[in-house]
């Protein structure tokens, strides 16, 4: 679904991505490439199909939107280069025309030459692209830029009559910032508590659904 954010038309995809039409920019966050391989290396049995699924999802998105830029707002890589990261290198080669930009997150600990080899443009703290500031974790002080970030893996719990409840990953927007859901399927959820002025868009298997908030 489309939303309007600071006068810009943003498309919220159920594949956990934002497409910014004007800039032809596909925005995702918390990709965690290599997380499953890192777990395996430490003797924890995560199926390696997990990493592949993430890349397949990314491929589908790229085919759908044909973006000029792929922007990752942090936690693109989990720890070090490993087999999963090599799979990404293969992926990168087949989409070499796309500009890949990374705003670094707390898990991004690759060496500079690794990023160069992967053809990734790295921004250490933030990337300003009017009217947005792309940053991994939402800043504590605010200015004229609207912050788009990731990091917390937002989720929302909704309640109905007769004591029903449901839980979803979601997009979150307030006055000063928007938070993207984690892109990787191998991630947990941080359940947000709604406050006044918040907007939530739940991600269901079929579509993105705006959530009403009652107090």
């Amino acid at each position: 679904m489309f939303i309007n954010c600071r006068g810009e038309r943003l498309y919220l995809s159920k594949e956990r991505a934002i497409y910014w039409e004007r800039e032809k920019m596909l925005i995702i966050s918390d990709l965690h490439i290599g997380k499953s391989a890192h777990f395996r290396k430490s003797g924890i049995q995560v199926p390696d199909t997990v990493g592949k699924t993430d890349l397949q999802k990314l491929t589908a998105l790229v085919k759908e939107f044909k973006p000029f830029t792929l922007l990752v707002t942090g936690d693109m890589f989990h720890n070090k280069i490993n087999s999963d990261a090599n799979a990404f290198l293969e992926w990168r080669k087949s989409y070499s025309e796309i500009r890949v930009v990374l705003v670094k997150g707390n898990h991004d600990e690759l060496k500079t030459q690794d990023y160069v080899a992967l053809g990734i443009e790295v921004h250490h703290k933030e990337l300003l692209c009017h009217p947005f500031r792309f940053i991994h974790n939402k800043p504590k002080v605010f200015d004229e830029y609207y912050n788009l970030c990731g990091h917390i893996h937002p989720g929302i719990v909704i309640f109905g009559r007769a004591k029903q409840q449901l839980k979803f990953p979601c997009f979150y927007f307030n006055e000063t910032c928007g938070i993207l859901p984690a892109f990787s399927v191998f991630t947990g959820l941080f359940i947000m508590k709604p406050e006044k002025g918040d907007s939530f868009y739940a991600i269901t298997p079929e579509k993105v659904v705006p959530i009403a908030i009652s107090s």
Binding site: G43, F159, Q164, I213
Partner: protein, 845 residues
């Protein structure tokens, strides 16, 4: 026969005479069978010297053999002393399920050895054993080692394990009934199989005896066969034909209206409890949860301040030193009363205890009798137990338990089988230790009761899981855990080995944090999720003390003494127990008897007014009737049904009926249940009337309908939480020893989703569903209940407001969901309401 003529026997008899004791027949029987080389199970009531029936058997054997060898010992000097030293080492492994038992046992055993002049060391090894003591044991094992199943596995995770068991004569599993129905029992089975295997490799001529000690349970023969599954050993059950006298009395309020219709605290009856404490020497007060124990401790102190210093609280989250002190104080009779959870359930012999109080329903006959046995511990003394109801209907349960105790209608404990998670943990444990030969271990494992049905395919999968990381055909080149070195499977990485050792065990709890005074001194432990809700200055109670939260530092909760008198108690997670089938049957009978007045139970007389009220506003179901109440309120449309089959069966039945109603029209439910019945609540009218009720409760297509009900997934997901921890996929917090590794954080739920989506044939996933189906769903019991309902007369009552029967279900806080509607349609009607939710949570505490 012939043991009577042996020197060891005579020596023991002589010693018993000096202490004016005479052995019971079951004890001498056990000694005789032991001498003849039998393995077996001793079944006797508490307080009759079950411990001695086996410990003295081993002692007699030792005395006989040393006397023989002392005859040989003719050459004086260095040579013999050296030889004598070689002969010492671990002779007896004594497995106990609870740490608190170890101290008592070791004291009793040491006394025996001392008085018999037997130069034996008695050691204890469990989570509370100091590093120093462990090192000493490593250098020189004591002759007797009292150990928990977890610590046994930790021993196997050490290098050169075999040396420990060189002289082992016997393994005893104490309180075996307690281990039997849990994965800890499987751990014991596996450890025994390995120790037996190790001994067989080096000394095939030696005989290792395996004995169990068990309270009476419904399946005592099976209990023996689980502990000693081996075909080639002599096996026997030694049963004491002594009966323990038990007096059960309910604590009744002055009037029925003083008892709430629902609730689990019962503290309104505290005034009635005080006189019982006063007139008894020492009283043990059992509660069902740690939170309840904390509340009762506070309530009693508030009622009578003179009890300060004479009242203590004991549960699993209280610091070891403190627990120790409490146990010692019970022994010495300093304490007037102790509020406790199941942490004091088992065989500790507290002589001064003459009265036991059970608060709230114990949910099973076996547990109730076990607790009753804590009082009047000496032979022929009468055990006295008071039952304090927490809500009115529990009085009927009290009457039912009395009857079950009288007729010795005691539950079975079903042993756990095919626990792949425990097997995976065990194999990695062996790999961390000396390494293992997979062919040899496969044979050993397959001999155990738990893995009798293990297929070669499953074994191969498990080996792949720990060596290559799983099923997928792609190269798992980076996976590392267990690798083959010199023909043995081993763990090479020190980090993986260390992490594994920290997580050996099958008791999964939330991440726990230690609680410590800023000024020093540990108090106990609380769950991380509880701490997360606290702000600086918030007060809470632990170990009966009111504490003020100051900060979290180095994974420790720092507190100071609070000036407040009362505060919230931590809610520790823990499974809720379900009414046993045995008790359910008697309970239905008691419902019949109440209105008919065909009984001699004072509890039922007392509760009669409530039943009359129920009869007035609705109906009291007879055992050939099945009652359904339909009530409309602001919340929506309620259906209450009362099969009296226990929480567990109701959970499944409720989702089954919800699923079948959902086939009639798209509808969403929230589900609640207790031991008497269940509730379906929907915002829409229910498509149900007198005509289709029997159809809805039909046992036809039962299996298919259960599988189709989405709750199977939810239940498996819940089961998977433990499985993921036990098999080493996720790491639970370890009190005080937090391993910080931000790159390896994940949750069981995440693994469940990932396996469901990407690794469907994962055996651990299958185990989660199996556990859900066989342990949780209890399909045979459910089918039997549905058949019974088919034969019953269905009575549908449209009640104006909540009835005495439905009220306890309605206020239950645990709820499930079930829906046959489109997801997006549901979302449209639902909202995110953070505020309301937090308010509700507060009420729970």
């Amino acid at each position: 026969m012939g043991i009577e003529t042996s020197k060891g026997y005579k020596q023991v008899m002589k010693w018993l005479k000096t202490t004016r004791k005479k052995p019971f027949k079951f004890q001498t029987d056990a000694w005789q069978y032991y001498a003849e080389g039998y393995s077996g199970l001793v079944n006797a009531p508490t307080g009759f010297g079950k411990t001695f029936s086996l410990f003295l058997a081993v002692v007699i054997d030792e005395l006989n053999s040393t006397q023989e060898s002392s005859k040989v010992k003719v050459v004086p000097g260095k040579l013999t002393t050296k030889k004598a030293k070689v002969q010492t080492g671990l002779k007896l492994i004594w497995i106990t399920p609870l740490r608190s038992l170890a101290k008592d046992l070791s004291r009793a055993m040491r006394e025996v050895c001392e008085q018999l002049g037997l130069d034996w060391q008695v050691g204890v090894r469990n989570g509370d054993t100091s590093q120093n003591d462990k090192l000493k044991q490593k250098k020189q094992m004591p002759e007797v080692l009292i150990i928990t199943p977890e610590s046994m596995h930790l021993l196997l995770a050490q290098k050169s394990t075999f040396n420990y068991f060189e002289h082992l004569q016997c393994i005893v599993a104490d309180e075996w009934h307690e281990l039997l129905g849990s994965k800890r029992g499987v751990m014991a089975e596996l450890a025994i199989s390995r120790i037996k295997g190790l001994l067989l490799e080096k000394h095939p001529e030696r005989l290792l005896r395996i004995w169990g000690i068990s309270a009476t349970i419904g399946n005592i023969e099976q209990a023996l066969n689980v502990l000693v599954p081996y075909e080639d050993v002599l096996k026997v059950i030694v049963k004491a034909d002594i009966e323990k006298k038990i007096v059960i009395k309910s604590i009744l309020p002055d009037h029925i209206d003083m008892l709430p219709w629902a609730g689990h605290l019962g503290h309104k009856l505290a005034d009635k409890l005080l006189p019982i404490i006063y007139k008894s020497k020492t009283t043990l007060i059992f509660t069902n949860t740690r939170g309840q124990a904390e509340l009762w401790y506070q309530t009693l102190l508030a009622k009578d301040e003179n009890l300060a210093g004479q009242l203590a609280i004991h549960h699993g989250s209280i610091d070891f030193e403190l627990r120790n002190w409490i146990e010692d104080s019970i022994h010495s009779g300093i304490l007037k009363a102790v509020v406790s959870t199941s942490s004091l359930d088992l065989g500790v012999d507290f002589k001064p205890v003459d009265t036991v109080v059970q608060i709230g329903s114990p949910k099973g006959v076996a547990r109730f009798l076990q607790r009753a046995g804590r009082s009047g511990h000496s032979p022929y003394e009468t055990s006295k137990i008071y039952f304090l109801p927490t809500h009115a209907l529990e009085l009927v349960e009290a009457a039912a338990i009395k009857e079950a105790a009288r007729t010795q209608n005691i539950e079975s404990r079903d042993p756990i089988v095919m626990a792949f998670d425990t097997l995976i943990q065990y194999l990695v444990t062996l790999a961390v230790g000396d390494g293992f030969d997979d062919e040899k271990i496969y044979i050993e494992v397959k001999e155990t009761h738990a893995f009798r049905e293990l297929l070669p395919d499953e074994w191969a999968w498990i080996m792949r899981f720990i060596t290559t990381g799983g099923e997928s055909l792609t190269a798992y080149n980076e996976f590392s855990k267990v690798t083959k070195i010199d023909g043995l499977w081993k763990v090479e990485s020190r980090q993986i080995a260390m992490r594994h050792r920290l997580h050996i065990g099958t008791i999964v709890s939330d991440a726990m944090l230690k609680v410590k005074y800023i000024s020093g001194g540990f108090v106990g432990m609380v769950e991380e999720s509880f701490v997360a809700k606290m702000k600086v200055g918030t007060s809470f109670t632990l170990a009966g003390r009111v504490l003020e939260f100051a900060m979290i530092k180095d994974m420790m909760v720092l507190v100071r003494k609070s000036k407040q008198k009362t505060a919230m108690s931590p809610s520790w997670m823990g499974g809720r127990m379900s009414l046993s089938a045995n008790l359910g049957v008697i309970l239905r009978k008691k419902y019949n008897e109440t209105l008919d007045k065909q009984h001699d139970d004072e509890e039922l007389d007392f509760i009669l007014p409530l039943f009359e009220r129920q009869a007035k506003v609705s109906h009291v179901p007879q055992s050939d009737e099945f009652l359904i109440e339909l009530i409309n309120t602001r919340d929506g449309y309620h259906l209450f049904a009362y099969p009296f089959e226990g929480r567990q069966v109701h959970e499944i039945m409720a989702s089954l009926i919800a699923y079948r109603l959902g086939r009639l029209k798209p509808i969403s439910f929230s589900i609640a249940m207790n031991d008497y019945g269940f509730e379906l609540l929907s915002e829409q009218p229910l498509p149900l009337d007198e005509d289709n009720i029997k159809e809805l409760f039909s046992p036809e297509n039962l299996s298919d309908d259960i599988i189709a009900s989405i709750n199977a997934t939810e239940m498996a997901r819940r089961k998977f939480r433990d499985i993921a921890c036990i098999s080493g996929l996720v790491f639970q917090g370890y009190p005080g020893k937090y391993v910080a590794n931000k790159h390896l954080q994940s949750s069981a739920a995440l693994f469940f989703n990932v396996f469901s989506d990407y690794d469907k044939h994962n055996l651990l996933l299958r185990q989660a569903y199996d556990e859900a189906f066989y342990q949780q769903i209890e399909e045979p019991r459910l089918a039997a209940a549905l058949h019974r309902i088919q034969k019953s007369k269905v009575i549908v009552v449209k009640a104006e407001s909540y009835t005495p029967l439905c009220f306890p279900i309605k206020v239950d806080s645990l709820r499930d969901n079930m829906s046959s509607e489109e997801l997006s349609q549901r979302i449209e009607r639902m909202t995110a309401e953070a505020e309301k939710k937090s308010v509700r949570k507060k009420n729970v505490h």
